[in-house]
Symmetry: C2
Subunit: 291 residues, 2 copies
């Protein structure tokens, strides 16, 4: 799995570097309790305001808190030794017409393989709504899912809409994609292939979108709206995202956990959306089927 993740990290950072023109910096970090990771970040590039593509593989003993969280999820085990590996990426482009994207694919193991599961997904967060971009993104993900099970896409699409929801704003973080967790209902090799296809789908799902939006002319008003949407992204990640919360309450590397935050964000009191901004909000409050 780790080998496949590192390979995907290379493919993705090469493709994004080619679009931006700037390289990613890589930081190798080690986790005091066991394992570590490779953080790759491109900050303040020509196209990306902030782009992070992380791979980690950590192992050790679950904390009391983490163990309780596992039990609460219905995993009945006495095993406390764990292994977790995953790739996690968030790309925030400068241009307000180019959407932010997030993807994460991960594998978790307890008791040396007694319990194991996969999780992951990818989702898109535009500031300005281009329906063709959303349709393209969903289509590529659907194709990757359909190769494995026609039931995957509808199920994981709905799960994504439910998970990336900013409850206190009563709106979705973005226009969705796929999300799944606790996946272990077929052979490990089959699910590894699915994850592998998900990783391979990332560049084709996103690169054409950022390519056609990155140089679009934009107004100060569009940029300000993008900054407000970045604020909502921060709200979701810091208030509702389980992974972020878990990371901040354990001994994870803070700079890697919070790499997902945008370079800049904005909060205006009682902002009144303009009609074109309302178009996006309508989609965020009433998730649609795009394919």
């Amino acid at each position: 799995m780790l080998e496949r993740l590192r390979q995907a990290q290379d493919t993705i950072t090469s493709a994004m570097s080619a679009i931006d023109g700037a390289p990613f910096r890589e930081d190798r970090w080690e986790r005091p309790g066991g394992g570590g990771g490779w953080a790759r970040v491109l900050q303040d590039g020509a196209v990306f305001e902030k782009a992070g593509v992380n791979v980690s593989a950590v192992h050790g003993t679950l904390s009391e808190q983490a163990f309780s969280a596992m039990r609460a999820r219905g995993i009945e085990t006495a095993a406390r030794d764990f292994f977790a590996t995953g790739l996690s990426l968030v790309l925030h482009p400068h241009n307000p017409h180019a959407p932010t994207v997030h993807a994460n694919y991960r594998y978790f193991e307890l008791g040396g393989g007694e319990h194991w599961w996969f999780g992951g997904g990818a989702d898109l967060t535009p500031s300005v709504l281009y329906e063709e971009d959303v349709v393209h993104f969903h289509r590529v993900l659907k194709k990757a899912c359909d190769r494995h099970d026609p039931a995957f896409f509808p199920k994981f699409k709905a799960w994504c809409d439910t998970y990336f929801f900013i409850k206190h704003r009563n709106e979705a973080r973005g226009v969705g994609g796929i999300f799944f967790d606790d996946l272990h209902d077929r052979p490990r090799d089959a699910l590894f292939d699915f994850i592998s296809d998900g990783l391979a789908a990332f560049v084709p799902s996103y690169a054409p979108i950022v390519e056609r939006r990155k140089d679009m002319p934009h107004t100060d008003e569009e940029r300000r709206w993008q900054q407000l949407r970045r604020g909502r992204y921060v709200e979701f990640n810091l208030v509702w995202d389980r992974g972020t919360h878990f990371g901040l309450r354990t001994d994870a590397r803070v700079e890697s956990v919070l790499m997902s935050l945008p370079l800049t964000a904005r909060w205006e009191y009682c902002h009144e959306p303009l009609p074109w901004q309302q178009d996006l909000l309508d989609v965020l409050t009433q998730p649609r089927d795009w394919v």
Copy 2:
């Protein structure tokens, strides 16, 4: 209590308006479950990037979640009807030499007065450390505390350092002040007088500081550092602040709860502090006694 809070709201917004030159807008809001509030906000003024001074008085029936939270805090009661009133303010000035300030004074009652307590405090968050500002702020608060009990200030100062701590960064949000909660160990009138003195101390504690910093020349580097510190402010409020979390998980008015967030904030991956920035960080990792 509400009358005293509304009077303090007038005094504080008048004083801050006089410093800024711009008025606060007032929004009257009603809570579906009972009561409501008066939100006063000054956004993008000459001195303040964002300034909010809210008063609310709400009543109703505790949700299951809120009731459990009360029990967890050791309040043994079957009563579910509550009354809560308070003043809450956060002022974020433009100038990076002028510190952000927060204050909150509140009263809570369960079962029509069967259980009641006061909470509150005030704390300062500079981006650039001016020791004389911190000393002044702490001195004014100490004087307000000492009039009631010489034990208050040392206890509430330490509580403030503990509460406003960003655990995942291992640093305090700011240079402290006072914080207290569950205060009910003497007659209600005596504690009301203490809260009243806390409210009265706000303008003298902060106005002289913002007056002397608001027009200081500043560099882009200082402004950028301020934006990074604003990011930490957001992290504390969204990840660790109990009041914010409670508000976002209940039916509180979101725009009032998140009024505390700055207009703009910034997150850089692995920012390396300069020596003058390290001076602030040293104080945030090792809280000092200022008076």
